[in-house]
Subunit: 210 residues, 2 copies
């Protein structure tokens, strides 16, 4: 197996943290999205979709989508369990993972991709048609990402982890989103004490440095 | 249990089709999103997030996010299996479900929410801050949704179902997205013969009418 990765990008980081929590080590190769390496012929020959991360399996087939890759390793190495076991726990973790992703990560990504010069002509990720940046979408992304931080602050005032009383994949998406948010100028230190304390607790986990 | 539903909306339809495939019947109550019933006090008392569908459990707690609700029922009623069993199957179904959702449904939704008069002051779903429509985002949504249809046409030229040789939750997201796309003027009949044949096969399943 081999994982195509980009150290600074949020989606491959989710997979790296997940693997660290599982104690799994696999070979990795860097792909620089800002330089457009994900759209160069060499990488498109690996994954025509042009997205990172991509996991290449031993039979040569590929798997992409960060959460799908995480579910693959969850099924291969069930402990520690990060996606839940009982029907209700499975559902609550999935609901929180998706909510953090859609309200948080996607809005931060909208702000980032629609404002950063490197993505001026490819505001949407991957090898699809060229897309110009939309400044109004960057603004909307910031507005909704701020609302997301307020929501998560309220949640973490009443819960030690995002999905309840233990660490799950929803926390991986959350810490990656909080760090990604700093790239668009959103910091949680002052106005969000519970989020700041949560971020410090997450930073104390060795996996977060993965 | 009770499901808050809206017949015409794509996300609750995913849950209804999933339940029909499982042979599960539960009480449902309609919430009209176009009329803003999801943001009225009565519904916000059920789900402060203001999104539909919401599943109310017997203990009064709620569960939202359509795919999280589907995973709850998958765990309660494992047959027929719609999310996969082996590690690789679980991962491939998840990767396709997410790809259909992100490249297809989300782009159609961007085109729809940023152009339809009923959503002029709430282009983003749910009870977050008011958001004006962004016409350039509606255009980008259409552009990327068309690219998605071309991608899915190529996939279905080589695969009877989205994720492989059998029906899964990825097909539920796909048929709902294809029908949703018609609301923004995207039809698959002429230029996409494999998609059109797939849509006809899906329409022949009783669950698709749910």
């Amino acid at each position: 197996m081999k994982l195509y990765d980009m150290t600074l990008a949020p989606n491959p980081r989710r997979v790296r943290i997940f693997l660290a929590e599982k104690g799994i080590t696999i070979p990795m190769e860097q792909v620089d999205i800002e330089k457009g390496e994900n759209l160069a012929p060499a990488y498109l020959a690996v994954n025509p979709r042009g997205v990172v991360p991509t996991l290449v399996l031993d039979d040569g087939s590929i798997l992409d989508e960060s959460i799908a890759i995480c579910r693959y390793f969850e099924a291969l190495v069930p402990e520690p369990d990060l996606f839940g076991r009982s029907p209700l726990e499975i559902a609550r973790i999935e609901a929180w993972q998706r909510r953090i992703e859609f309200e948080g990560m996607f809005n931060v990504a909208a702000a980032f991709r629609n404002s950063r010069p490197a993505f001026a002509a490819r505001a949407a990720p991957g090898a699809g048609p060229p897309t110009a940046q939309i400044p109004a979408l960057a603004e909307r992304g910031l507005l909704l990402a701020r609302a997301f931080l307020d929501m998560l602050e309220a949640r973490l005032a009443n819960s030690p982890f995002v999905a309840g009383d233990r660490y799950t994949v929803a926390d991986i998406t959350a810490i990656v989103t909080l760090d990604f948010a700093r790239w668009v100028g959103l910091r949680v230190e002052e106005a969000h004490p519970h989020l700041a304390a949560y971020r410090a607790r997450m930073k104390a986990r060795p996996s977060t440095a993965a």
